[in-house]
Symmetry: D2
Subunit: 208 residues, 4 copies
């Protein structure tokens, strides 16, 4: 006498979520059973709505509602500062930090030297094209591209790669910038590596 | 320009799962978006089916398909060995271990000295009634009740409490048993506490 | 201007302790500097005393004070129950658990299939010889050998290996035993593996 | 029959090291016994040398060899840039990062609102006096004080407190600076808090 098929199915499908193994899927399933029926039903309906209701902006690749070719920012076309990020959550991180008057350009990966690079290279080509368009139109306004990547070897390699690709566009009007390095919230000097301390020291700010 | 409402909804509802905070809910949501639409749809449908399709056995409280008053084992009534467990997952743990010729009795909690005890005490009263019925019918067959709880202070306290409650039923025909203690898979002596070593030594087995 | 050589030396030598890297060695060194001078001096003297003052029992290999050929138990020779363990700390674990009327036999390692096995095999040969002596003298008293190893693949393999080696000594008078398996203190059923649950169920105890 | 007193003594004294409990002290002790006798003896001698051989610079409080009133940098008096740090290891962190042409001023704690603050306040008073001396002599050279604290609430509060204390010294010639904030090595945007992203964005650097 084992558990009903409907539970087995839920436990199996929950394991498609990233990082969820059989034990945690079981715990989720029994927690859902113990909620009022409205809760699993609402989650179920929201997932079906998600499956039908989202697509990606053809310019920046961020998630938009089905039926839109581009996001509102890309449709508007007035923004001249693009933040290039690795993944969807990074856009959310910027928006949570109140940085909202920029556009974005999503790579959906880093340059890692493997087969997935083809897709990322494609996104870099489309970044190149977006910058060319911005530089032409109007021809006298400046453009800024911020490479906003994790401070990791993969992030640094991808930034170096993109900087090299964009070199032909170098001009007074184009700035390519990178996020500042230093102590992040919670960092202790004792555990900080040499580069972090060097960067934090080099970018020290006057307080008096 | 922020994320579509349908994503916000999914991220909000996923946080009802135990142990899932906003960051992990975001990660789940974007992972679901990046799957083929069939995957979130299938999970969504399975959750709606779960909401409609399960209830609990009126005897042992394990989850059964909607429309059944009791599980197959309780309906049959032939089983004379009940394993008393704290929660749903414990039944699954026994079934995975190949222990399948017993019935179960789910407490859905431990005796912790708080307000939730009322529900657990209710389950202990219904255990008492189930044992009385088994002892009467037929009056000459033996009955075993195994208190299969975590080897924790809460588990031990609940076992002691139930043992005391069941004392009036004590007879040649009724055995109340508890799971054996000793080294569990992976245990190292260096990190084992005194009781574990004492129990493992006391219950040592002959191998030659 | 860097730190004095004496600190560098201490930080370097502390890194010989198992699991201690440069950061933790630094933390230890500065903590020692901030104690009253008696504390590092007392620790220093105790380490010098340790270097000069201990050796190992020629029978069971446990640590004894310099100048003794064997430990008190092995010198006495009356004990007929030997607990075979992997390492020094396991003996301490048994003594902490109040199991003190047995002798020990230290392997100083497990049979792992590598070059260190030679030393462990040597210890198993000396175990064989100790058992032979015990069985002869007197010839009518029984002997018990408990293989008290971690409940891990390495521990199990070593137990199986020793059991096979000792087979020629099999008789009514010799018991080879192993520690009991089951739930160890703190174990929860949900996280217990199949074998632990099977063993805990098979070795269940009557409480009423 | 328990372990020799000399081992018990070592295990007891090792537990004075920060973060070391009885199990790890045991592991250290048996590891030391298993090394060649020279190793525990060398560590023992280095600890005795440490107990006798170090004191603190009367100016900056860093550890120096016994017999010196001040460290070489403070004796020289030419350095006009002091880095104020919480603890000994922070000085090592700066030196490891190749920042060696500055002096230091060790607080040996943060302002936490408790009784230990008295000692830290004392160190801040002595910082004030050191700055006054530097500003007078010669009267036309500039002075920089870098508050190099962990990016934590305690570090920030201590920096704010010191900045306020030093306000009376404010002049063209004195800069009080703080370490730059941003992404530290290894940081991912997804896990960075709002302030870290805001700071990293505000301090972004041109790469092309």
């Amino acid at each position: 006498m084992t558990r009903p098929d409907v539970i087995k199915k839920v436990i199996e499908l929950l394991q498609h979520l990233p990082g969820i193994g059989p034990r945690q899927a079981e715990r989720f399933a029994y927690a859902l059973i113990d909620m009022k029926a409205e809760a699993p039903r609402a989650l179920g309906e929201s997932l079906i709505a998600l499956a039908a209701g989202v697509t990606r902006c053809q310019e920046c690749m961020r998630v938009v509602e089905t039926g839109h070719r581009t996001c509102a920012t890309c449709a508007d076309g007035a923004v001249r500062h693009l933040i290039v990020v690795e993944k969807d959550q990074d856009i959310d991180a910027f928006e949570r930090s109140g940085i909202t008057d920029t556009g974005f350009h999503l790579l959906r990966g880093f340059i890692l030297g493997g087969p997935d690079d083809a897709m990322v290279r494609d996104r870099i080509r489309s970044l190149y094209a977006r910058i060319e368009t911005l530089l032409k139109n109007p021809s006298d306004a400046s453009v800024e591209i911020t490479l906003a990547f994790a401070a990791t070897a993969d992030g640094d390699m991808t930034a170096a790669y993109i900087t090299k690709i964009l070199e032909p566009l170098a001009s007074q009007k184009l700035s390519i910038t990178r996020l500042g390095r230093g102590l992040s919230t919670g960092s202790e000097l004792e555990y900080a590596d040499r580069d972090t301390i060097k960067n934090a020291f080099a970018s020290r700010n006057k307080t008096l």
